[in-house]
Amino acid sequence: MDKQIISSPELDEQYSIIHHDSGLDILLWEKEGFSTVEALFGTKYGSINNCFKTDETGDFIRVPDGIAHYLEHKLFESDDNSNVFEQYAKTGAAANAFTSTDITAYVFSCTDNYEKALEILLGFVQSPYFTEENVEKERGIIAQEIKMGDDSPTRKCFKELLRGLYVNNPVRIDVAGTVESIQQITPGLLYKCYNSFYNLHNMTLSIAGNIRQDKVLEICDKMLKPSPNVHLENSFPHEPDNVCQKRICTHAAVGLPVFAIGFKSKPLSGREYVRKSFIAAMLLEQILGQTSPLYNQLLEEGLISSGTSTFVYTSADRYFCCIIEGESEDPDLVYQRICREIERLEKEGIDKKRFEIDKRVRYGEKISSINDVKACADAMLYYHMDCDDVTLFEDVDMIASLTAQECQQALPELFDIDKSSISIVTDKNDY
């Protein structure tokens, strides 16, 4: 067992990374004074991992869209006919799970009895039980979940934007799949996916809060079942630099048109990935952040609302795009104004004073996030799974070292108008 301590004297915090003999990486953050414990048991497996091979599968196999998410639902059932929530009920823990494009994680949150809750978490995730009957039963529930997602115009708009930005990348496929694609899911396929991705070498346990490291490790020693290396290989289609479609307009029952604008750039990994993610976020702030001239102009003109948001949507090695989303009576005009602002910033340069202030904002965000046990557990997991050797506290120094010149240089690459798309959801058929 190999242990690494990651600490930050400025933030007065530290956590540990333990490479457990079973193959699992364990991240532990003892938070003094806090009552809660938050744990995530995650695997590097999401909706984009739809073509893969292992020693068991032989050749590459293509699995139905939405299967990672389906698997997440089904893992909550056990062979003694009880469901996992009933097991957790004894501990008071609130349990949940999520599937993203590249991660599936099982989580719990509790204040007492974390030891028992951790045993349940490690136990059920390592004990799949899929039958024809229980797989069939889930189809209706997941179909309802997909339909509920379709009722959110914001989600629909974002989903369509990804379909516009990407030509082949599986990020364009919805995490839950479609009502049609989930019909093809069988217990056999679920086991194939489980055996390929739910291997401890491909997984991480992140736990923070009112814990004792030695107790967590004792439970891990008892519960973890070492798994053999299955030589997992993912296959991803070639993704060209260009976007698939510049403008996508779909219809739904909306009171005000919803829009999402995306700028596509090359996927990155490691240190460069983390650094560019910060640069992209800071450039978004320059373009349409709340302190930007354009944001305030558009707001005063009534073209956007204060709910307009910006974020960087990324997965290491797989995709990297900068997103602006909101509601507007005239999304096309908003898009034009944003493009003009990018051109202006390229010519005139970014606002250096605001850039320096934005560094203080990022630092403040970091401090605030440490107040939250869940945010701490989440961040440990994401950094470990997505950012290679970059640790959670390094970003404070990384932000401090960013220069306005570096941001300026990255602008044409991260905000290439030719590689941008706009998705609009409106209920006006003539829009």
Binding site: L11, E32, G33, F85, T111, A252, V254, V258, S305
Partner: protein, 426 residues
Amino acid sequence: MPISYKRSAVGEGIALTEITDPKFKSNLISVSFVTPTDVKNAPLNTLVMELLASSNDKNKTLAELTGELAYLYGATLSTKSRRIGDCQENGLCIEYICDDYTIGREIISTKASQLLLDCIFRPLFENGRFSERYVSMRKKELEDNINAEFNDKFGYSMRMAKEIIYKGEPACISLLGTVENARAITSQQLTDRYHELLSSSQIEIVMCGRDFERVKPVMIQAFSQLERTDYVPVNYKALSPVKKETAYERQTQDVNQSKMIMAFKSGYEDIYTAKLFTALLGGTPFSKLFSNVREKMSLCYYCSAAYSDIKGTLLVSSGVAKKDIEKAREAILMQLEAIKNGEFTQQELEHTKIYLCTGFKSNNDSIYRMSEYYTAQNTRGTSYSPEQVCDIFMDITKQQVIECAKSFVYDTFYVMESEGEVSADG
């Protein structure tokens, strides 16, 4: 639990709640103006808060104000406008990092609190009224928000249901109003309402975090000087009367999934027993509704229960396929009957208690949740810590839960049906 909780009077109808805990690295100060909800003032109250958060006499533009917040390590200034039963709570909150964690221990707490006070007491006025520039901008935004309400199908269906559940009561009033009303609002009306809020509303100041030594005297000084001659005390508890007959309402909308909301009402006095009963019915992942209606019967994607102690109302909401509406409705009523008949084990009850206790104790770990938790305590005139509430839960008996369940009367059935599918009943 927090190291200390203290509530004190700062002036007539002005209370200061201090929740201190040294584990936090950031602080929250919120100032709320609580008034009875009425049709005329509800959107005005909302707009006044938005205007106060747009600019002030020192930071004359939104860009300047957000720039100042950014400089304070990204301090966040937010507005709130929400219902508490028949009352409306409007306010401003600021969150900022503690002085001990700024670079070089720069003192920002006094600047952050002064910024909040400037927004409240020194708004940007032109000719004695709110600046027209921001009035028209915020009015347009209000209009957009009204138009966009339908974009959130769950929230929209809940609002539509509440119009029937609380028919004739202030709790059914839209806080946004109508587009026509939004367009007609004037700067003078907003200015008058601003002064009314300062002089007549119940004012709740909450400080949560640590190191308020520098900030507290400034806050007290600012509010203790307010003239409060028109102060109107608010009465939070306003039980919703039970309808003579269950109201049924079906609306058709362009939605993919039908949203069904059922309301049950009771005047049961012990709110913690009612909360426990609600959780047993539909507030946990092993509740009657989740484990039976969703998991075993696969009738809906979500099916959960929530209880408002102030209105004495239990809401069961679910997302269902149109063809399953009737089946789901019957299944939900059956689960309620099961509890009334005592068809739950002592173990189910104990697990529900433990689950609720986890939720209550976890409030201790967030400045926002602590602030919300004690605000709710204030509305009940109590000051129980989360741990004390857990002790109350643990003492509740099965018989009390049955009695509480029996007191709830089926009041309203509302469904927002999808247009496409065919329902089982035709």
